[in-house]
Symmetry: C2
Subunit: 270 residues, 2 copies
Amino acid sequence: MVLVNGSPTESIRVFDRGLTYGDGVFRTLPVRAGRPLCWQLHYDKLGADCAALGIESPPEQCLTEEVGRVIEASPDCVLKIIVTRGEGVRGYAVSPGAEPTRILTTGPLPQHPASWFDDGIKMHLCSTRLAIQPRLAGIKHLNRLENVLARREWTDPAIAEGLLLDMDGNVIEGTMSNLLILQGTTLLTPDLGRCGVAGVQRARIMALAGELGLTAKVENLSLAELHEADEVVLCNSVIGAWQVRELAGKMWRSGSLATRLRKLLDDRTH
Amino acid sequence: MVLVNGSPTESIRVFDRGLTYGDGVFRTLPVRAGRPLCWQLHYDKLGADCAALGIESPPEQCLTEEVGRVIEASPDCVLKIIVTRGEGVRGYAVSPGAEPTRILTTGPLPQHPASWFDDGIKMHLCSTRLAIQPRLAGIKHLNRLENVLARREWTDPAIAEGLLLDMDGNVIEGTMSNLLILQGTTLLTPDLGRCGVAGVQRARIMALAGELGLTAKVENLSLAELHEADEVVLCNSVIGAWQVRELAGKMWRSGSLATRLRKLLDDRTH
Protein backbone atom coordinates (compact mmCIF):
# COMPACT_ATOMS: atom_id res chain seq x y z
CA MET A 1 0.00 0.00 0.00
CA VAL A 2 1.12 3.52 -0.78
CA LEU A 3 -0.31 6.67 0.75
CA VAL A 4 0.21 10.14 -0.71
CA ASN A 5 -1.06 12.87 1.61
CA GLY A 6 -3.24 10.24 3.25
CA SER A 7 -4.83 8.97 0.04
CA PRO A 8 -4.20 5.48 -1.35
CA THR A 9 -2.48 6.11 -4.68
CA GLU A 10 0.86 5.18 -6.20
CA SER A 11 1.17 8.48 -8.05
CA ILE A 12 2.37 12.00 -7.42
CA ARG A 13 1.92 15.01 -9.65
CA VAL A 14 4.69 15.80 -12.13
CA PHE A 15 4.86 19.35 -10.74
CA ASP A 16 5.97 18.13 -7.33
CA ARG A 17 9.30 19.71 -6.40
CA GLY A 18 10.43 16.35 -5.06
CA LEU A 19 10.66 15.30 -8.69
CA THR A 20 11.68 18.53 -10.35
CA TYR A 21 14.44 19.53 -7.91
CA GLY A 22 14.86 16.67 -5.44
CA ASP A 23 13.41 19.22 -2.99
CA GLY A 24 12.62 16.98 -0.04
CA VAL A 25 13.87 14.47 2.52
CA PHE A 26 13.23 10.84 3.37
CA ARG A 27 13.43 8.14 6.03
CA THR A 28 13.83 4.38 5.68
CA LEU A 29 13.14 2.20 8.70
CA PRO A 30 12.20 -1.37 9.52
CA VAL A 31 8.79 -2.34 10.80
CA ARG A 32 8.53 -5.55 12.83
CA ALA A 33 5.34 -7.08 14.16
CA GLY A 34 3.51 -3.90 13.20
CA ARG A 35 5.91 -1.63 15.07
CA PRO A 36 8.08 0.96 13.26
CA LEU A 37 11.38 0.61 15.15
CA CYS A 38 12.85 3.65 16.91
CA TRP A 39 9.97 5.71 15.59
CA GLN A 40 10.63 8.74 17.76
CA LEU A 41 14.23 9.05 16.58
CA HIS A 42 13.15 8.77 12.96
CA TYR A 43 10.36 11.28 13.39
CA ASP A 44 12.73 13.72 15.08
CA LYS A 45 15.34 13.32 12.34
CA LEU A 46 12.66 13.83 9.67
CA GLY A 47 11.68 17.03 11.42
CA ALA A 48 15.28 18.22 11.71
CA ASP A 49 15.97 17.49 8.04
CA CYS A 50 12.79 19.28 6.96
CA ALA A 51 13.72 22.27 9.12
CA ALA A 52 17.21 22.41 7.58
CA LEU A 53 15.61 22.87 4.15
CA GLY A 54 12.82 25.15 5.37
CA ILE A 55 10.10 22.56 4.72
CA GLU A 56 7.23 22.25 7.18
CA SER A 57 7.40 18.82 8.78
CA PRO A 58 4.16 16.79 8.96
CA PRO A 59 2.55 16.84 12.43
CA GLU A 60 3.41 13.68 14.34
CA GLN A 61 -0.18 12.63 14.88
CA CYS A 62 -0.94 12.88 11.17
CA LEU A 63 2.15 10.88 10.25
CA THR A 64 1.72 8.15 12.87
CA GLU A 65 -1.89 7.69 11.78
CA GLU A 66 -0.79 7.29 8.16
CA VAL A 67 2.09 4.98 9.12
CA GLY A 68 -0.43 2.81 10.98
CA ARG A 69 -2.60 2.56 7.88
CA VAL A 70 0.23 1.82 5.48
CA ILE A 71 1.78 -0.96 7.56
CA GLU A 72 -1.52 -2.59 8.47
CA ALA A 73 -1.27 -5.09 5.61
CA SER A 74 2.51 -5.55 5.99
CA PRO A 75 3.47 -5.78 9.69
CA ASP A 76 7.04 -6.77 8.76
CA CYS A 77 8.45 -4.48 6.13
CA VAL A 78 10.72 -1.60 5.29
CA LEU A 79 8.83 1.65 5.60
CA LYS A 80 9.89 4.63 3.52
CA ILE A 81 8.64 8.14 4.21
CA ILE A 82 9.30 10.96 1.75
CA VAL A 83 8.39 14.57 2.50
CA THR A 84 8.75 17.06 -0.33
CA ARG A 85 8.20 20.82 -0.40
CA GLY A 86 5.10 20.21 -2.51
CA GLU A 87 4.05 21.54 -5.87
CA GLY A 88 5.54 24.48 -7.61
CA VAL A 89 5.21 26.41 -10.79
CA ARG A 90 8.31 26.50 -13.00
CA GLY A 91 11.32 28.11 -11.29
CA TYR A 92 13.29 27.63 -8.10
CA ALA A 93 11.34 30.17 -6.04
CA VAL A 94 8.91 28.50 -3.66
CA SER A 95 5.26 29.18 -4.55
CA PRO A 96 3.36 30.85 -1.70
CA GLY A 97 1.02 28.41 -0.01
CA ALA A 98 2.78 25.32 -1.29
CA GLU A 99 1.83 22.36 0.92
CA PRO A 100 4.42 19.64 1.61
CA THR A 101 3.75 16.23 0.09
CA ARG A 102 3.88 13.10 2.29
CA ILE A 103 4.60 9.81 0.52
CA LEU A 104 4.56 6.55 2.49
CA THR A 105 5.54 3.27 0.87
CA THR A 106 6.39 -0.18 2.17
CA GLY A 107 8.65 -2.85 0.75
CA PRO A 108 9.87 -6.28 1.83
CA LEU A 109 12.63 -6.55 4.44
CA PRO A 110 15.84 -7.26 2.49
CA GLN A 111 17.21 -10.81 2.45
CA HIS A 112 20.96 -10.40 2.89
CA PRO A 113 23.21 -13.47 3.16
CA ALA A 114 23.60 -14.65 6.77
CA SER A 115 27.38 -14.54 6.30
CA TRP A 116 27.26 -10.76 5.97
CA PHE A 117 26.03 -10.64 9.57
CA ASP A 118 28.09 -13.57 10.88
CA ASP A 119 31.39 -13.17 9.03
CA GLY A 120 31.31 -9.64 7.69
CA ILE A 121 31.26 -8.11 4.24
CA LYS A 122 33.42 -7.15 1.30
CA MET A 123 33.46 -3.46 0.41
CA HIS A 124 34.30 -1.63 -2.81
CA LEU A 125 36.33 1.59 -2.66
CA CYS A 126 34.32 4.02 -4.80
CA SER A 127 36.06 6.40 -7.18
CA THR A 128 33.02 8.69 -6.97
CA ARG A 129 33.80 11.25 -4.28
CA LEU A 130 31.35 13.18 -2.13
CA ALA A 131 31.25 16.91 -2.79
CA ILE A 132 31.73 19.21 0.18
CA GLN A 133 28.52 21.10 0.90
CA PRO A 134 28.03 22.08 4.55
CA ARG A 135 24.54 23.45 3.81
CA LEU A 136 23.31 19.94 2.92
CA ALA A 137 25.66 17.82 5.03
CA GLY A 138 24.01 15.34 7.39
CA ILE A 139 20.57 15.73 5.79
CA LYS A 140 18.92 12.69 4.18
CA HIS A 141 17.61 14.68 1.22
CA LEU A 142 16.42 13.59 -2.19
CA ASN A 143 19.53 14.77 -4.09
CA ARG A 144 21.22 11.38 -4.22
CA LEU A 145 22.97 11.28 -7.59
CA GLU A 146 26.36 10.81 -5.94
CA ASN A 147 25.08 7.63 -4.27
CA VAL A 148 23.58 6.46 -7.57
CA LEU A 149 26.86 7.00 -9.44
CA ALA A 150 28.85 5.33 -6.66
CA ARG A 151 26.52 2.30 -6.60
CA ARG A 152 26.96 1.91 -10.36
CA GLU A 153 30.67 1.27 -9.85
CA TRP A 154 30.23 -2.41 -9.02
CA THR A 155 27.93 -5.24 -10.08
CA ASP A 156 29.54 -8.17 -8.22
CA PRO A 157 26.79 -9.39 -5.85
CA ALA A 158 29.47 -10.55 -3.39
CA ILE A 159 30.27 -6.89 -2.69
CA ALA A 160 27.83 -5.61 -0.10
CA GLU A 161 28.63 -1.93 -0.02
CA GLY A 162 30.84 0.86 -1.40
CA LEU A 163 33.04 3.24 0.58
CA LEU A 164 32.74 6.94 -0.14
CA LEU A 165 35.52 9.43 0.46
CA ASP A 166 35.03 13.17 0.20
CA MET A 167 36.83 15.37 -2.32
CA ASP A 168 39.70 15.82 0.13
CA GLY A 169 40.13 12.07 0.59
CA ASN A 170 38.53 11.80 4.03
CA VAL A 171 36.60 8.60 4.73
CA ILE A 172 32.91 9.51 5.10
CA GLU A 173 30.42 6.63 4.81
CA GLY A 174 29.00 3.81 2.70
CA THR A 175 26.55 4.47 -0.13
CA MET A 176 23.66 3.37 2.14
CA SER A 177 25.31 3.14 5.58
CA ASN A 178 27.40 4.99 8.12
CA LEU A 179 30.84 3.81 9.12
CA LEU A 180 32.57 3.39 12.47
CA ILE A 181 35.99 2.10 13.42
CA LEU A 182 37.35 0.55 16.58
CA GLN A 183 40.80 1.79 17.66
CA GLY A 184 41.65 0.13 20.95
CA THR A 185 38.81 1.28 23.19
CA THR A 186 37.81 4.20 20.99
CA LEU A 187 34.80 4.02 18.70
CA LEU A 188 35.33 6.64 16.01
CA THR A 189 32.96 7.76 13.30
CA PRO A 190 33.75 10.37 10.64
CA ASP A 191 32.66 13.94 11.12
CA LEU A 192 29.71 14.64 8.78
CA GLY A 193 29.75 18.41 8.97
CA ARG A 194 30.76 18.85 5.33
CA CYS A 195 29.07 15.93 3.55
CA GLY A 196 27.38 12.58 4.19
CA VAL A 197 24.15 11.54 5.86
CA ALA A 198 24.03 11.49 9.66
CA GLY A 199 21.93 8.39 10.24
CA VAL A 200 19.79 7.50 13.22
CA GLN A 201 21.60 4.20 13.83
CA ARG A 202 24.99 5.95 13.92
CA ALA A 203 23.63 8.37 16.52
CA ARG A 204 22.25 5.49 18.61
CA ILE A 205 25.57 3.64 18.48
CA MET A 206 27.56 6.68 19.53
CA ALA A 207 25.16 7.26 22.42
CA LEU A 208 25.44 3.63 23.55
CA ALA A 209 29.21 3.22 23.09
CA GLY A 210 29.86 3.67 26.81
CA GLU A 211 27.86 0.53 27.58
CA LEU A 212 30.41 -1.47 25.61
CA GLY A 213 33.25 0.21 27.50
CA LEU A 214 34.11 2.32 24.47
CA THR A 215 34.78 6.03 24.14
CA ALA A 216 32.80 7.63 21.30
CA LYS A 217 34.69 10.09 19.12
CA VAL A 218 33.65 12.04 16.01
CA GLU A 219 36.46 13.35 13.86
CA ASN A 220 38.06 13.28 10.42
CA LEU A 221 39.27 9.86 9.31
CA SER A 222 41.85 9.13 6.61
CA LEU A 223 42.03 5.99 4.51
CA ALA A 224 45.39 5.20 6.16
CA GLU A 225 43.78 5.41 9.62
CA LEU A 226 40.93 3.22 8.40
CA HIS A 227 43.46 0.59 7.28
CA GLU A 228 45.02 0.60 10.75
CA ALA A 229 41.67 0.16 12.54
CA ASP A 230 41.16 -2.93 14.71
CA GLU A 231 37.66 -3.32 13.30
CA VAL A 232 35.51 -1.48 10.77
CA VAL A 233 31.73 -1.55 11.03
CA LEU A 234 28.89 -0.27 8.85
CA CYS A 235 25.46 0.53 10.21
CA ASN A 236 22.02 1.61 9.13
CA SER A 237 18.50 1.22 10.45
CA VAL A 238 17.65 -1.76 8.27
CA ILE A 239 20.83 -3.87 8.52
CA GLY A 240 21.83 -2.99 12.06
CA ALA A 241 25.62 -3.47 11.84
CA TRP A 242 28.02 -5.40 9.59
CA GLN A 243 31.75 -5.85 9.99
CA VAL A 244 33.89 -4.88 7.00
CA ARG A 245 36.31 -7.76 6.37
CA GLU A 246 37.73 -6.68 3.03
CA LEU A 247 38.23 -3.35 1.31
CA ALA A 248 40.20 -3.00 -1.93
CA GLY A 249 42.69 -5.74 -1.01
CA LYS A 250 42.95 -4.89 2.70
CA MET A 251 41.66 -7.68 4.98
CA TRP A 252 40.57 -7.47 8.62
CA ARG A 253 40.39 -10.37 11.04
CA SER A 254 37.01 -11.43 12.32
CA GLY A 255 35.95 -9.24 15.23
CA SER A 256 33.08 -9.08 17.67
CA LEU A 257 32.07 -5.42 17.49
CA ALA A 258 29.33 -5.74 14.85
CA THR A 259 27.70 -8.62 16.74
CA ARG A 260 27.93 -6.75 20.05
CA LEU A 261 26.47 -3.63 18.43
CA ARG A 262 23.58 -5.53 16.83
CA LYS A 263 22.72 -7.10 20.16
CA LEU A 264 22.88 -3.78 21.97
CA LEU A 265 20.83 -2.02 19.30
CA ASP A 266 18.21 -4.79 19.33
CA ASP A 267 18.00 -4.81 23.15
CA ARG A 268 17.43 -1.07 23.23
CA THR A 269 15.05 -0.84 20.28
CA HIS A 270 11.94 1.04 21.24
CA MET B 1 -1.12 19.29 -21.50
CA VAL B 2 1.31 16.92 -19.88
CA LEU B 3 2.64 13.72 -21.44
CA VAL B 4 4.34 10.96 -19.45
CA ASN B 5 5.84 8.33 -21.72
CA GLY B 6 3.47 9.48 -24.43
CA SER B 7 0.30 9.25 -22.33
CA PRO B 8 -1.72 12.29 -21.27
CA THR B 9 -1.48 12.29 -17.47
CA GLU B 10 -0.17 14.70 -14.86
CA SER B 11 1.15 11.90 -12.63
CA ILE B 12 4.22 9.76 -12.28
CA ARG B 13 4.66 6.74 -10.03
CA VAL B 14 6.11 7.32 -6.56
CA PHE B 15 8.75 4.65 -7.28
CA ASP B 16 10.27 6.71 -10.09
CA ARG B 17 13.95 7.36 -9.38
CA GLY B 18 13.46 10.91 -10.58
CA LEU B 19 11.57 11.45 -7.33
CA THR B 20 13.43 9.13 -4.99
CA TYR B 21 16.98 10.16 -5.96
CA GLY B 22 16.71 13.04 -8.43
CA ASP B 23 18.05 10.47 -10.87
CA GLY B 24 17.42 12.25 -14.15
CA VAL B 25 17.99 15.33 -16.29
CA PHE B 26 15.87 18.10 -17.78
CA ARG B 27 15.60 20.77 -20.46
CA THR B 28 13.67 24.05 -20.46
CA LEU B 29 13.19 25.84 -23.77
CA PRO B 30 10.85 28.37 -25.35
CA VAL B 31 8.34 27.46 -28.01
CA ARG B 32 7.22 30.22 -30.37
CA ALA B 33 4.56 29.88 -33.06
CA GLY B 34 4.60 26.14 -32.52
CA ARG B 35 8.36 25.83 -32.93
CA PRO B 36 10.66 24.66 -30.09
CA LEU B 37 13.62 27.01 -30.51
CA CYS B 38 17.09 25.54 -31.12
CA TRP B 39 15.58 22.09 -30.82
CA GLN B 40 18.61 20.25 -32.14
CA LEU B 41 20.94 21.81 -29.58
CA HIS B 42 18.54 20.99 -26.76
CA TYR B 43 18.06 17.45 -27.96
CA ASP B 44 21.81 16.95 -28.23
CA LYS B 45 22.39 18.38 -24.74
CA LEU B 46 19.65 16.14 -23.33
CA GLY B 47 21.41 13.16 -24.90
CA ALA B 48 24.81 14.21 -23.56
CA ASP B 49 23.42 14.72 -20.06
CA CYS B 50 21.65 11.35 -20.13
CA ALA B 51 24.85 9.69 -21.32
CA ALA B 52 26.85 11.30 -18.51
CA LEU B 53 24.55 9.59 -15.99
CA GLY B 54 24.27 6.31 -17.94
CA ILE B 55 20.60 6.87 -18.78
CA GLU B 56 19.33 5.88 -22.21
CA SER B 57 18.20 9.01 -24.01
CA PRO B 58 14.79 8.91 -25.75
CA PRO B 59 15.05 8.44 -29.53
CA GLU B 60 14.70 11.77 -31.32
CA GLN B 61 11.72 10.71 -33.40
CA CYS B 62 9.81 9.61 -30.31
CA LEU B 63 10.59 12.84 -28.49
CA THR B 64 9.82 15.19 -31.41
CA GLU B 65 6.51 13.45 -31.92
CA GLU B 66 5.61 13.91 -28.26
CA VAL B 67 6.82 17.50 -28.26
CA GLY B 68 4.56 18.14 -31.24
CA ARG B 69 1.57 16.77 -29.35
CA VAL B 70 2.25 18.61 -26.11
CA ILE B 71 2.69 22.04 -27.73
CA GLU B 72 -0.25 21.69 -30.11
CA ALA B 73 -2.58 23.51 -27.73
CA SER B 74 0.07 26.00 -26.60
CA PRO B 75 2.10 27.20 -29.58
CA ASP B 76 3.80 29.87 -27.44
CA CYS B 77 5.02 28.42 -24.19
CA VAL B 78 7.94 27.20 -22.15
CA LEU B 79 8.49 23.51 -22.77
CA LYS B 80 10.07 21.39 -20.08
CA ILE B 81 11.37 17.90 -20.76
CA ILE B 82 12.41 15.63 -17.90
CA VAL B 83 14.04 12.25 -18.48
CA THR B 84 14.54 10.01 -15.45
CA ARG B 85 16.17 6.61 -15.11
CA GLY B 86 12.72 5.11 -14.55
CA GLU B 87 11.35 3.02 -11.77
CA GLY B 88 13.36 1.19 -9.20
CA VAL B 89 12.91 -0.99 -6.19
CA ARG B 90 14.34 0.36 -2.93
CA GLY B 91 18.09 0.89 -3.07
CA TYR B 92 20.55 2.80 -5.22
CA ALA B 93 21.37 -0.10 -7.55
CA VAL B 94 19.64 0.25 -10.90
CA SER B 95 16.99 -2.41 -11.48
CA PRO B 96 17.68 -4.46 -14.61
CA GLY B 97 15.31 -3.57 -17.41
CA ALA B 98 14.37 -0.19 -15.94
CA GLU B 99 12.94 2.00 -18.70
CA PRO B 100 13.57 5.74 -18.63
CA THR B 101 10.58 7.99 -17.96
CA ARG B 102 9.84 10.93 -20.30
CA ILE B 103 7.85 13.82 -18.83
CA LEU B 104 6.82 16.74 -21.05
CA THR B 105 5.07 19.78 -19.60
CA THR B 106 4.30 23.24 -20.89
CA GLY B 107 3.92 26.50 -19.03
CA PRO B 108 3.33 30.13 -19.95
CA LEU B 109 6.25 32.22 -21.25
CA PRO B 110 7.40 34.32 -18.27
CA GLN B 111 6.44 38.00 -18.15
CA HIS B 112 9.58 39.78 -16.97
CA PRO B 113 9.61 43.58 -16.70
CA ALA B 114 10.70 45.22 -19.97
CA SER B 115 13.32 47.15 -18.00
CA TRP B 116 15.20 43.94 -17.26
CA PHE B 117 15.83 43.63 -21.00
CA ASP B 118 16.24 47.34 -21.73
CA ASP B 119 18.11 48.60 -18.68
CA GLY B 120 19.46 45.47 -17.03
CA ILE B 121 18.86 43.76 -13.72
CA LYS B 122 19.76 43.77 -10.07
CA MET B 123 21.48 40.63 -8.77
CA HIS B 124 21.81 39.17 -5.29
CA LEU B 125 25.14 37.67 -4.19
CA CYS B 126 24.16 34.28 -2.74
CA SER B 127 25.77 32.99 0.43
CA THR B 128 24.91 29.44 -0.70
CA ARG B 129 27.98 28.12 -2.50
CA LEU B 130 28.12 25.44 -5.18
CA ALA B 131 29.86 22.23 -4.13
CA ILE B 132 32.68 20.99 -6.33
CA GLN B 133 31.67 17.75 -8.04
CA PRO B 134 33.34 17.14 -11.42
CA ARG B 135 31.25 13.99 -12.00
CA LEU B 136 28.06 16.09 -12.13
CA ALA B 137 29.44 19.41 -13.37
CA GLY B 138 27.85 20.83 -16.51
CA ILE B 139 24.90 18.42 -16.38
CA LYS B 140 21.37 19.80 -15.99
CA HIS B 141 20.31 17.06 -13.59
CA LEU B 142 17.45 16.87 -11.09
CA ASN B 143 19.61 17.36 -7.96
CA ARG B 144 18.92 21.06 -7.60
CA LEU B 145 18.77 21.68 -3.86
CA GLU B 146 21.65 24.16 -4.05
CA ASN B 147 19.64 26.27 -6.50
CA VAL B 148 16.56 25.97 -4.26
CA LEU B 149 18.49 27.11 -1.18
CA ALA B 150 20.13 29.93 -3.10
CA ARG B 151 16.80 31.14 -4.49
CA ARG B 152 15.37 31.22 -0.97
CA GLU B 153 17.92 33.87 0.00
CA TRP B 154 15.89 36.77 -1.42
CA THR B 155 12.22 37.67 -1.74
CA ASP B 156 12.52 41.22 -3.15
CA PRO B 157 10.81 40.99 -6.57
CA ALA B 158 13.11 43.76 -7.86
CA ILE B 159 16.01 41.29 -7.69
CA ALA B 160 16.00 39.22 -10.87
CA GLU B 161 18.66 36.65 -10.13
CA GLY B 162 21.24 35.39 -7.63
CA LEU B 163 24.96 34.92 -8.23
CA LEU B 164 26.49 31.61 -7.22
CA LEU B 165 30.14 31.18 -6.32
CA ASP B 166 31.74 27.79 -5.80
CA MET B 167 33.26 26.64 -2.51
CA ASP B 168 36.60 28.18 -3.53
CA GLY B 169 35.01 31.56 -4.25
CA ASN B 170 35.08 31.34 -8.05
CA VAL B 171 32.20 33.01 -9.85
CA ILE B 172 30.16 30.27 -11.57
CA GLU B 173 26.63 31.22 -12.70
CA GLY B 174 23.19 32.49 -11.72
CA THR B 175 20.64 30.22 -10.05
CA MET B 176 18.84 29.83 -13.43
CA SER B 177 21.30 31.37 -15.89
CA ASN B 178 24.87 31.32 -17.11
CA LEU B 179 27.13 34.34 -16.77
CA LEU B 180 29.51 36.06 -19.16
CA ILE B 181 31.66 39.14 -18.81
CA LEU B 182 33.08 41.57 -21.32
CA GLN B 183 36.71 42.60 -20.75
CA GLY B 184 37.77 44.87 -23.62
CA THR B 185 37.24 42.62 -26.64
CA THR B 186 37.22 39.38 -24.68
CA LEU B 187 33.99 37.58 -23.83
CA LEU B 188 34.74 35.38 -20.84
CA THR B 189 32.54 32.79 -19.18
CA PRO B 190 33.48 30.73 -16.11
CA ASP B 191 34.87 27.25 -16.55
CA LEU B 192 32.15 24.74 -15.53
CA GLY B 193 34.33 21.66 -15.22
CA ARG B 194 33.85 21.41 -11.45
CA CYS B 195 30.28 22.65 -10.89
CA GLY B 196 27.48 24.55 -12.59
CA VAL B 197 25.22 23.86 -15.55
CA ALA B 198 26.64 24.31 -19.04
CA GLY B 199 23.61 25.78 -20.80
CA VAL B 200 22.77 25.72 -24.49
CA GLN B 201 22.53 29.52 -24.73
CA ARG B 202 25.99 29.94 -23.21
CA ALA B 203 27.40 27.54 -25.81
CA ARG B 204 25.66 29.43 -28.62
CA ILE B 205 26.98 32.77 -27.40
CA MET B 206 30.54 31.50 -27.15
CA ALA B 207 30.28 30.05 -30.65
CA LEU B 208 28.92 33.35 -32.04
CA ALA B 209 31.26 35.72 -30.17
CA GLY B 210 33.48 36.16 -33.22
CA GLU B 211 30.62 37.76 -35.13
CA LEU B 212 30.56 40.56 -32.57
CA GLY B 213 34.32 40.99 -32.92
CA LEU B 214 34.89 39.35 -29.56
CA THR B 215 37.30 36.61 -28.50
CA ALA B 216 35.59 33.83 -26.52
CA LYS B 217 37.44 32.59 -23.46
CA VAL B 218 36.50 30.00 -20.81
CA GLU B 219 38.40 30.21 -17.56
CA ASN B 220 38.14 30.69 -13.83
CA LEU B 221 36.69 34.03 -12.75
CA SER B 222 37.06 35.69 -9.37
CA LEU B 223 34.61 38.13 -7.80
CA ALA B 224 37.30 40.83 -8.04
CA GLU B 225 37.63 40.23 -11.79
CA LEU B 226 33.85 40.30 -12.12
CA HIS B 227 33.78 43.71 -10.42
CA GLU B 228 36.32 45.01 -12.93
CA ALA B 229 34.38 43.73 -15.96
CA ASP B 230 33.19 46.29 -18.53
CA GLU B 231 29.85 44.50 -18.73
CA VAL B 232 28.28 41.47 -17.06
CA VAL B 233 25.57 39.48 -18.84
CA LEU B 234 23.33 36.57 -17.83
CA CYS B 235 21.84 34.20 -20.36
CA ASN B 236 19.49 31.28 -20.64
CA SER B 237 17.24 29.83 -23.31
CA VAL B 238 14.09 31.53 -22.05
CA ILE B 239 15.34 35.06 -21.26
CA GLY B 240 18.00 35.33 -23.95
CA ALA B 241 20.39 37.78 -22.28
CA TRP B 242 20.17 40.42 -19.54
CA GLN B 243 22.79 42.91 -18.44
CA VAL B 244 23.67 42.90 -14.75
CA ARG B 245 23.60 46.52 -13.57
CA GLU B 246 23.87 45.98 -9.83
CA LEU B 247 25.37 43.28 -7.64
CA ALA B 248 25.68 43.67 -3.87
CA GLY B 249 26.36 47.42 -4.05
CA LYS B 250 28.54 47.35 -7.18
CA MET B 251 26.99 49.20 -10.14
CA TRP B 252 27.76 48.93 -13.84
CA ARG B 253 27.03 51.53 -16.51
CA SER B 254 24.48 50.67 -19.17
CA GLY B 255 26.11 48.67 -21.94
CA SER B 256 25.09 47.27 -25.28
CA LEU B 257 26.31 43.68 -25.05
CA ALA B 258 23.07 42.08 -23.80
CA THR B 259 21.06 43.79 -26.55
CA ARG B 260 23.58 42.80 -29.22
CA LEU B 261 23.59 39.21 -27.93
CA ARG B 262 19.80 38.99 -27.89
CA LYS B 263 19.64 40.26 -31.46
CA LEU B 264 22.34 37.84 -32.60
CA LEU B 265 20.73 34.90 -30.78
CA ASP B 266 17.31 35.75 -32.23
CA ASP B 267 18.69 36.14 -35.76
CA ARG B 268 20.39 32.77 -35.58
CA THR B 269 17.57 30.87 -33.88
CA HIS B 270 16.75 27.73 -35.78
